[in-house]
């Protein structure tokens, strides 16, 4: 059910500029479908980022965030070859983790 994310990390010195594109319907629980029924609440509740297994970022997310959201943040102390992994969890108990290896250069 959980679809893959697209993670991009560009290194500038020891700062990694990370952008994550996540596939998720992010239903607010207020929208009605074509038949007029409320579409149930279905959204990413938490996002964590780990650098070489150590948590560097942790966020609680609300249903106000848009569908297929982009999540951008900077991590200090990163270098080429580091493993960056992102995990999200939603209110249905669905979970997704994707990982990239940070590459040298922009």
């Amino acid at each position: 059910m959980a679809e893959p994310m697209k993670i991009r990390a560009t290194l500038q010195g020891d700062v990694a500029d990370v952008r994550v594109l996540m596939a998720h319907p992010m239903e607010t629980g207020q929208r009605k479908d074509e038949a007029g029924k409320i579409v149930p609440l279905h959204f990413i509740q938490s996002i964590t980022a780990q650098l070489n297994g150590k948590t560097v970022f942790s966020a609680d997310v609300s249903q106000a965030v848009s569908r297929n959201p982009v999540f951008a943040f900077k991590v200090k102390g990163a270098k080429a070859g580091d493993k960056l992994s992102i995990t999200w969890q939603d209110n249905h108990g669905d979970k997704r983790t994707d990982e990239i290896v940070i590459r040298a250069g922009s």
Binding site: E3, P4, K6, R8, R19, L21, A23, P25, R31, D33, E34, V39, V65, S66, R67, N68, P69, V70, F71, A72
Partner: protein, 272 residues
């Protein structure tokens, strides 16, 4: 988050643009601001999620015949996807007609995988809860022509005839409102409400008919292709409905793409 950014940008534009009700004042700085906004949004385009999905579907065994699309010939030989989109629409001897990319994908799904046209044409456009396979597939195929110059061929007599037929359609006024495509897209510097209307008869503007499609539409978070775009054009033109993946749509796409030939296709885009 995207929505908040979009609202912020719209607010910024509304605050700075001088909306003087003088006769025929065209807010040019606004058009530039929207272009800049689109460029920023293109950096993390959710269309990429559909590119990935489309590639999965291309390689998966599907349909009654349980085969993948990896033998589908998009004009450059069976299975050659790189660069194919930029060289379509084109003539295909096995179908004896000119086909745009999505029509060709539909053809391959029918002939290779055993799907029927009826089931693919039943609900061919994306909704909030469903993205039809051909839409993800054409997004993947289009992405494989990213950065390439458009070169829809005009070598075969049927390719040339299709261009002329598409051109005749483009200028054909009919329907309850007497609209042709040219009514909106045949003159420079026009807009409908605040949406610019590129003049597709001119090469440097015709690129805007191709660039950005397939496109991720933020309104509703759906992926749409040119088949959807032309369908919605005819709806707004107060015409009846064109057949999905029909020759008519391929003809119009031939006219538009050939007009834009030589210009670089930047890949799937993002829309309001």
């Amino acid at each position: 988050m995207k929505r908040a950014l979009m609202l912020g940008m719209v607010a910024a534009i509304a605050a700075t643009a001088p909306w003087l009700p003088a006769a025929a004042q065209t807010p040019d700085p606004t058009a530039a601001e929207f272009d800049k906004f689109r460029e920023i949004m293109e950096q993390d385009n959710p269309a990429e999620l559909f590119e990935v999905k489309g590639e999965e579907q291309w390689r998966a065994r599907r349909g009654p015949s349980n085969v993948s699309l990896e033998q589908c010939d998009l004009g450059l030989g069976p299975g050659v996807v790189k660069g194919a989109y930029a060289q379509m629409p084109r003539y295909f001897a096995d179908a004896d007609r000119v086909m745009d990319a999505e029509a060709r994908i539909v053809h391959c799904m029918i002939t290779l995988q055993g799907f029927t046209y009826a089931e693919l044409a039943k609900q061919p456009f994306s909704s909030l809860t469903r993205t039809p396979e051909p839409v993800s597939l054409v997004t993947y195929v289009a992405a494989q022509s990213r950065g390439m110059k458009l070169a829809a061929p005009q070598d075969h007599p049927k390719e040339r005839a299709t261009y002329e037929t598409g051109k005749a359609m483009f200028f054909y006024r009919a329907g309850a409102f007497d609209f042709s495509c040219a009514s909106c897209h045949g003159t420079d510097d026009k807009r409908i409400r605040t949406q610019p209307l590129p003049n597709f008869t001119k090469p440097e503007q015709a690129i805007r008919a191709v660039q950005g499609w397939p496109g991720y539409r933020m309104t509703g978070g759906v992926m749409h292709s040119l088949q959807w775009r032309l369908n919605d054009c005819f709806r707004q033109q107060r015409f009846p409905e064109p057949g999905y993946a029909s020759e008519t749509v391929s003809a119009l796409l031939t006219y538009l793409t050939v007009n834009a030939n030589g210009q670089v296709y930047r890949g799937p885009g993002i829309k309001r």
